[in-house]
Symmetry: C2
Subunit: 228 residues, 2 copies
């Protein structure tokens, strides 16, 4: 069975790719170059795709920066640092990029239908303070309807399924799953900033470090600073 896997190069999507392999899928990875502040995560995606032995890895480039509105794409907005986990849980964060997962899933859908794939895997996760509207189960359900109604494959045959193996997992559980699956953590990249090494203080680094610490495990990735 063919599967398209959305691969950012982060901890979550890398785990999803290895899960898709275990599910018996022949994997086609897709990543996006949308002029995010740094290219580091794209390099991670390429390395992970190679190590996981995907059949093909597509990198789709487009310009989302012109829209601004997010700390991840607009250099005028600072990536928050050193926030507590409770502060992160308050609201949709400034790292929210308008309609990002909708764009990503749309391209994945096009890719899946073109290669006649039955599944699209995405590493969305509704827990652990992410706060993003386009990571929640009701949103995924709505996109599943779009997958069914918006394609030839969905109208005339079997709709392409959106697979979200991480949606109900805590970050610690994702790391446990990834450990079982042999995900090469040292190749992944979660940091929102683009330094030589991960910053250790942005929301994403903090969530990752806290989860490794809670499990009593060592994150093999080097960090500039560690809050946990």
């Amino acid at each position: 069975m063919k599967a398209v896997v959305l691969l950012s190069g982060g901890l979550d999507s890398s785990t999803v790719l290895y899960q898709a392999k275990v599910d018996g899928c022949e994997c086609y990875a897709i990543s996006f170059d949308y002029q995010q502040r740094h290219q580091r995560e794209l390099e991670s995606a390429t390395a992970i795709a190679h190590m996981a032995g995907v059949r093909e890895h597509q990198v789709v480039a487009f310009d989302l920066r012109l829209w601004g509105g997010s700390a991840l794409t607009d250099s005028a907005i600072n990536v928050p640092e050193g926030r507590s986990l409770d502060e992160m849980a308050q609201s949709i964060p400034v790292t929210y990029v308008p309609a990002r997962n909708t764009i990503f899933l749309s391209f994945a859908l096009a890719y899946a239908e073109t290669i006649n794939s039955q599944r699209v895997y995405i590493g969305v996760n509704a827990l652990d303070y992410s706060g993003y509207p386009d990571c929640r189960p009701d949103y995924v359900q709505a996109m599943q309807e779009v997958f069914r109604l918006g394609t030839r494959q969905g109208r005339e045959g079997q709709p392409i399924s959106i697979m979200t193996p991480l949606i109900d997992l805590k970050k610690t559980e994702i790391i446990q799953l990834g450990n079982q699956l042999g995900v090469p953590w040292e190749q992944t990249w979660s940091c929102y900033t683009g330094g030589e090494v991960a910053c250790g203080v942005c929301d994403s680094c903090q969530l990752r470090l806290a989860a490794f610490a809670e499990l009593g495990l060592q994150d093999p990735l080097p960090y500039a600073a560690k809050s946990h």
Copy 2:
């Protein structure tokens, strides 16, 4: 009120833009350069956007050609010519591009949320033999749910509305509407091929010519051949 208008430069989307103006909207046009076989329709979109006095016109470039699978993007598949209207009605045509409207609407959604727009206009049309799965009302309904659930604006305020003023109109009715609104037909481009003048024999040219003929009107666009 701000509105994002999906503008291909064709008869339908040009009419939609003029309708959005009449609805009292400040218009932001968005077009796509996805390595379609010709750039002619993008030139039309730019001309129409200028004539309609939009506030801004964004052209988003990405590469969809690598996926193939459609006569509009894959040069190995021929655009059908000289089909009867009944033949067109049989099935989803080879000019279907996988997930195209889903990708277009996703970018429009991102644009709309970034500029804090309340509406996205799209010239989909469920009648007149188009046959595309992503032009039908149930599909638009599903995307509306994605607009509601997949954005900050939809979760915390008023969801962005998808406006489909042409969805129930026949091609002749669209032309009558466009005539009332003063759409400059000579600037629009509907042809699926990329010649100096419109071919007159592809499905899109035929539908357009048949509709003008039915109304007893002259299409001001020059054609290489005319079947009606």
